[in-house]
């Protein structure tokens, strides 16, 4: 069977373009992504389309995935680290319905991983693309609500207001108040919002072997970090960045290096890996 005939056989839903988006929309996103990869960490505006998922629910990440996905790709979609989360399922269903691509829960086998709030625990490799869903694209949003102001600050690489914010936190509260979404600097240039991944995942962004694409549908921007790029959290030279700590290892698989979530509906309450597929695989040996 020719590749094209195979493609036709795969596409189940009628009335939709392959990968849902029309060609013009895909072109819009791809052009923005190319620019984003060339200027790591820079927020590239694009004409974000209205999608069948609400704004704030992954419309940006979805547009990115739909614009880059190919028939031979293998897709993994997670939310909070879980493939079974309702948001992950809804997004995955839409992508599969309009492309017929293979899916997996094993992060090592996926060529595209669309994620909300986590990076999979598995070590990832070259050739993989992670698509992050972004709620707030601008790390300077806490400093000023106006894009007209923050755009100029980025253009001048004037991040003094953000450093001041950090200083005030440490001086008056004892520690930076950033918990998740810790601002990071890309190759000493643009400061970027890494999406609400926990601090635990921030070190994974530095010199990563994968391509990181960030899509913000409501804010109509995409940004990107190519593989093997230096990405460092904003920290004072003399106050190192710290990650979350848990009192126990995972109650199910014993891992002490993963990001955990508390389960209070069992007696006694316990901590388990938030990366459900990773944990399950460890348990099955």
């Amino acid at each position: 069977m020719s590749a094209f005939a195979g493609l036709l056989a795969q596409t189940p839903a009628s009335g939709y373009a392959w990968a849902y988006l029309d060609e013009e929309s895909k072109r819009e996103v791809r052009r923005a992504l190319l620019k984003a990869v060339c200027i790591p960490g820079y927020q590239v505006p694009f004409a974000s389309r209205e999608m069948p998922v609400a704004r704030g629910w992954g419309s940006g990440g979805l547009q990115v995935t739909l614009s880059i996905i190919e028939p031979a790709d293998t897709l993994k979609v997670i939310d909070q680290g879980s493939d079974e989360s309702m948001n992950a399922r809804a997004l995955r269903d839409l992508i599969v319905r309009t492309t017929g691509v293979a899916t997996t829960t094993d992060a090592r086998e996926a060529s595209i991983i669309q994620t909300r709030h986590r990076i999979p625990e598995d070590p990832l490799h070259e050739g993989q693309i992670i698509v992050f869903q972004v709620p707030i694209a601008d790390p300077l949003r806490i400093v000023d609500a106006r894009s007209s102001v923050t755009r100029r600050l980025h253009a001048e690489r004037d991040y003094a207001p953000l450093w001041l914010y950090l200083y005030e936190d440490v001086a008056t509260k004892g520690a930076p108040s950033f918990t998740h979404s810790y601002p990071v600097q890309v190759e000493g240039g643009y400061v970027m919002a890494p999406t609400p991944i926990p601090r635990h995942d921030i070190p994974r962004l530095c010199e990563a072997p994968f391509l990181a694409l960030y899509g913000a549908g409501r804010e109509a921007t995409v940004y990107a970090v190519p593989p093997y790029t230096k990405v460092t959290p904003l920290e004072f030279d003399d106050r190192p960045f710290t990650v979350e700590r848990f009192p126990e290892p995972c109650a199910l698989c014993g891992a002490s290096w993963t990001y955990l979530q508390e389960e209070a509906d069992v007696d006694p309450p316990r901590y388990v890996c938030s990366d459900v597929a990773y944990c399950r695989r460890r348990r099955s040996g």
Binding site: W163, Y167, E168, A171, T172, F236, R239
Partner: protein, 251 residues
Amino acid sequence: MTPVLALHDVTVRYPAGNYGCREISFDVFPGEVLGIVGESGSGKSTVLACANLDLVPTEGSVEILGRDVSRTRGAERRKLRAQALGIVYQTPQQGLDLAVTAGGNIAERMFGAGHRSYRVVRERARSLHAAMELPCDRFDVAVRTFSGGMRQRVQLAKALATSPPLLLLDEPTSGLDVSVQAKTLDLIRRIQRDHGLAMVIVSHDLAVIRMLADRVIVMREGRIVERGLTDQILGDPQHPYSQLLVASQLT
């Protein structure tokens, strides 16, 4: 010797046709204090805005340490201001973020200049805070709670944070109580001497000028009408307008 600040025939003309200032020229050398006097509307604030690179002159040029900087903008201007200029505004709100602590206001300038060590920045900010005779238990308190005089001191500390060679002051004591004015002027004189700063002080108050300035230029309706040593101008003014000013204030 290169002047720290030099204005050459600076003219600012607004789109409506009126002038902010006309053909202003002067030099300020290291360690020297220049006073600019005039009534409101004389154009002295416009001149200061040009020196601070807030305004681009319609004609003429502004030089800092021998370099023409009239048209710098963006990141370059920010860097220049961090390295070469300190400014104290007439109203503290213009120069400070009232919601931020005193230490934070001072520290921000250092972050802008590229400092990244919390301890080092904080210690320097603290020593400046103390040098301005601000109470140390207010170092981590938001400036909103400070009195007018204290806010001016925070502005001074902030201006000095990156050790610039030039300090610009716009009516530094107007709006302060008389007793506080004297203390603030004392402080400004002391830091000028201790750091060997070049200063430009704009004021309508001749007492301030007499106390701080080595030389004076008198402005009226956008132009310089007289210039000279402070003692000369205040003791023996030649231009009728200068005579009027002096007579109305210093007798």
